[in-house]
């Protein structure tokens, strides 16, 4: 039900993101989603990949600080109002969203959500027949 997300600590300097993508390319790992949260001098890169364990190992081997976090990935129709519906459900259940990111392509859209209460979030989302990754 939940999806494993990789979080990589990065200093804010030119070329650091390339270093990550290069390592993943070499290991033949495909990325499904990619987002960067940043502060003044460091950032946290968040990644959904096809082989989380392997990606984690490869990055650690190359000296990166990597942690694995559970998030909810939701596949939904790419049309007006779908994301709003999901967010309403979570808000009504009083689930707080720590962060989220989304992308859409042709008829489908994907959103990755990090709730404060994972159990409750998964429960209300499945009760509403919404497909999780």
């Amino acid at each position: 039900m939940t999806t494993k997300q990789l979080s990589v600590f990065l200093e804010n300097k030119t070329g650091r993101l390339n270093d990550v993508t290069k390592i993943l390319a070499k290991a033949n790992i495909n990325m499904r989603a990619f987002s960067v949260a940043d502060s003044a001098d460091f950032g946290i890169l968040r990644l959904l990949v096809d082989d989380t364990e392997k990606a984690k190992e490869e990055l650690r081997k190359n000296g990166f600080a990597v942690s694995v976090t559970d998030i909810i990935g939701i596949k939904m129709a790419n049309k007006p109002g779908t994301l709003n519906k999901i967010l309403d459900i979570l808000a009504e259940a009083k689930v707080y969203i720590e962060y989220m990111y989304a992308y859409s392509d042709s008829d489908k859209a994907i959103t990755a959500i990090k709730p404060d209460d994972m159990e409750k979030a998964v429960k209300v989302i499945s009760e509403n027949n919404i497909t999780m990754l």
Partner: protein
Amino acid sequence: MIWNETAECMSRDERTALQGKRLKAVVERVYFNCEPYRKRMQQAGVTPGDINSLEDIVKLPFTCKQDLRDYYPFGLLSSPMSEIVRIHASSGTTGKPIVVGYTRNDLGVWNEVGARCLTAYGLGKNDVVQVSYGYGLFTGGLGVHGAVETIGGTVVPMSSGNTDKQILMLRDMGVKALCCTPSYALHLAECIERSGIPRSDFQLKVGIFGAEPWTEQMRKEIERRLGVKAFDIYGLTEITGPGVGHECEFQCGTHINEDHFYPEIVNPETGEPVAPGEVGELVFTTLTKEGMPLIRFRTHDLTKLNYDKCECGRTSVRMSKIMGRCDDMLIIRGVNVFPSQIESVILETEEFEPHFFITVDRVNNTDTFEIKVEVKEQFYTDDISGMLKLQKKLASRIQSVVGLNPTIRLVEPRSLQRSEGKEKRVLDKRVFCN
């Protein structure tokens, strides 16, 4: 102008005789009143009877900053507490400050040497002096305050901070001389420029600056922007505070009030005196102090001495600008910081690796203080606010130990340089020598 011509212009022979007499008295004082000194002299096989003239000073053991920490707070006092009338303190390495105690006579001597400084800057009883050094445990504020009152001038005891009020008082009190750190002087100059108040509204003519190193370029910039003649005032908390030395109108070195504070220059490695005029470590002996006399106190400052008579008429020895330090102490915004202090805080904070790198710079005339640290692998998280909290936690712990708020930069694991033996953990980008 000279405040005390007898003392400041006496011949070298007369002064040497006076210093020898005072040295003998202060050595007797510490030997009979202060156990650590007595023990150390006994270990070195010296008794007060062996000290009969100034040249005998080389027989005496050194005192160092660590002694002030080891005997914290009152172990080096040579007067009973009933005679101590004031305490001052500066930051130390282990979180404990360095504490000094003054008797009433010590304050009198301090006022006397402070009066010599202000007189050398051309100030007198008709002048208003604004003291914008911090008042409190720091010797700056109260030290210069006493000096202004001694010459009969009018003191405006502003202390530090509150720049708008500083400017208001500078203008409305008709202040002739301002005393603060050189970096604060430049900040004030900038704020005055921005305020749009015309320079003609101010009576300011003299700047008295010290407590941190400054360059000739900085002097020129302050003089140009603040429209003052800028003078150096020299002092160390351990010795007494501001007033140990001062520049005169010829500004060719810092005159040391050596009838009270006797300077020597030694080789920092061997402790042997260097030839006159050579660079070495500055060592002070307080010849007249009662509360906490220091015998051959090693400052770790590198400089040289010039014994020639000055054009101003004073015969007191002149010290060149401090050229550096022979230990790893940093002076940041006037505060003494040792890398070992930073290290101990980081070691005590479990989320961080024991590696760090300090960068000190001067941006817009203010010292910057940055520490790079690595978070331990298991403490890197997905949570930005959690990481920021870690940053803040370390910054506030360091602030509570050294008294300065550093900028903490979290860096990636194993990105700080590891080296064999002596690690280079400090980069000081500031330039103090010309």
